[in-house]
């Protein structure tokens, strides 16, 4: 698993499409993930669900690391086209939600939700892009809710309260109450790049932990070299 950064490579050197992951705000214990790809204008684009109805397709910040995908060149080119299509088809945005159930792109590249208040996180957005094209990276039925997931989920819903309608918040809270598995960005990143997919949580623990160490180290070293840089 080769991890690239602006300190040892350049975004322009990516091989068609890869995973980008980072800790955009060093002081927050929160990673962010998306797909980095070469778009039809031959430019590097970072497709990611930044927040509630904020689907972005922009140039990545130097704060992100990137990892090559475990895919052949044909499938990489196909997936890059899908990324651009997903952005074009969902410019109105995609809601943010903590539960994966009933949300995805499985039908036509357009985000669909079985429940009006369902949504995706940055990590489940990436999972659904892969799964919609038959690349099963996560063995979803094997992922269960853990008590520790609730802490993060409540924090994120607290932040969401400022911008999302009350009904959307209540739906998320009901999901938390019932118990909803969390897919961490670093787990999804390693699941996308390692062979022998799809993954249950257990085999991802060690590689995800190693990747997290690198993410934190990169965030620290980036902050030291660029102390005045603004958050994305």
């Amino acid at each position: 698993m080769k991890v690239n950064s602006v300190f040892n490579s350049s975004f322009e050197n990516i091989d068609t499409i890869c995973i980008a992951i980072g800790r955009p705000r060093r002081n927050l214990n929160q990673q962010h993930i998306g797909l980095l790809y070469i778009n039809t204008s031959n430019q590097v684009s970072f497709l990611h669900l930044a927040w509630h109805y904020e689907l972005r397709n922009d140039y990545p910040s130097n704060k992100y690391l990137w990892l090559d995908l475990n895919l052949d060149p044909l499938n990489k080119a196909h997936l890059a086209a899908v990324c651009e299509m997903v952005y074009d088809t969902n410019k109105a945005g995609i809601p943010y939600g903590i539960c994966l159930d009933g949300s995805g792109f499985a039908k036509n590249g357009k985000y669909t939700a079985e429940q009006i208040y369902a949504g995706l996180t940055c990590a489940t957005f990436v999972i659904q892009i892969f799964h919609s094209q038959g690349f099963y990276i996560i063995d979803i039925p094997k992922w269960y809710h853990k008590q520790e997931d609730k802490i993060w989920q409540k924090q994120i819903i607290q932040a969401l309260t400022a911008i999302a309608p009350e009904e959307h918040i209540q739906y998320q809270l009901r999901k938390i109450q019932k118990g909803s598995a969390r897919f961490k960005p670093e787990e999804v990143a390693v699941a996308a790049v390692l062979p022998d997919q799809p993954y249950a949580p257990e085999p991802l623990k060690i590689p995800a932990s190693k990747l997290l160490d690198l993410i934190i180290k990169h965030a620290d070293s980036f902050e030291l070299k660029h102390p005045t840089s603004a958050p994305p």
Partner: protein, 187 residues
């Protein structure tokens, strides 16, 4: 009994503006003479060879017309569904003509959007007809996997999807790809 003309014997005089109308079917009944036929890129023609039956009818696409006015033709068995599809979705003609050259993200994206559009509109019959008439030998390497992946969520609505998968497996093998690896998740 009407004789069926060998398809490549059918030719047609060049029209003055270079764009051909549909052939009036009556022109081909019992016609044993060689007719001049000069297809124009971006068009398709239905050819009738027997007035009592459309069984042997063909649809022809011109895929390359160069300065020397030589053309490469693609021939499809006629069906009312295919004719309707080519009329209602002009991008399909374009796709069949160019499929071998669509080998990068930029060139495939417009067609991906069109395919997604007909799926979003639940035009499964049209989508199935599109898939059914794909000739895997004429698909670019990316499209050999891309069309299957793009439509696999709807494969149960698209009976021709499974035949395309089988044909793509063989074709990928012919092109020295590991089809099990390239098509993983679909097989």
């Amino acid at each position: 009994m009407n004789s069926v003309q060998p398809f490549f014997a059918l030719t047609h005089p060049t029209s003055s503006n270079g764009v051909l109308p549909f052939f009036p079917p009556s022109k081909f009944y019992n016609n044993t003479a060689t007719l001049l036929f000069e297809p124009v890129q971006g068009t398709f023609q239905r050819i009738r060879t027997n007035k009592n039956s459309s069984t042997n009818d063909k649809i022809v696409l011109a895929i390359k017309v160069d300065r020397a006015k030589t053309s490469t033709l693609k021939i499809y068995d006629f069906s009312p569904e295919l004719q309707e599809l080519l009329i209602s979705e002009p991008w399909v003609t374009d796709f069949y003509q160019k499929a071998a050259q669509l080998n990068d993200t930029k060139s495939i994206l417009p067609y991906y959007k069109e395919i997604n559009k007909i799926i979003a509109e639940k035009k499964f019959k049209e989508c199935n007809c599109f898939i059914n008439n794909i000739k895997v030998a004429e698909l670019s390497d990316i499209l050999l996997v891309g069309i299957l992946r793009l439509t696999f969520s709807w494969k149960n609505e698209l009976p021709s999807w499974f035949a395309l998968l089988e044909n793509a497996k063989v074709e990928l093998g012919n092109r020295h790809y590991d089809s099990n690896s390239v098509l993983r998740g679909l097989i």
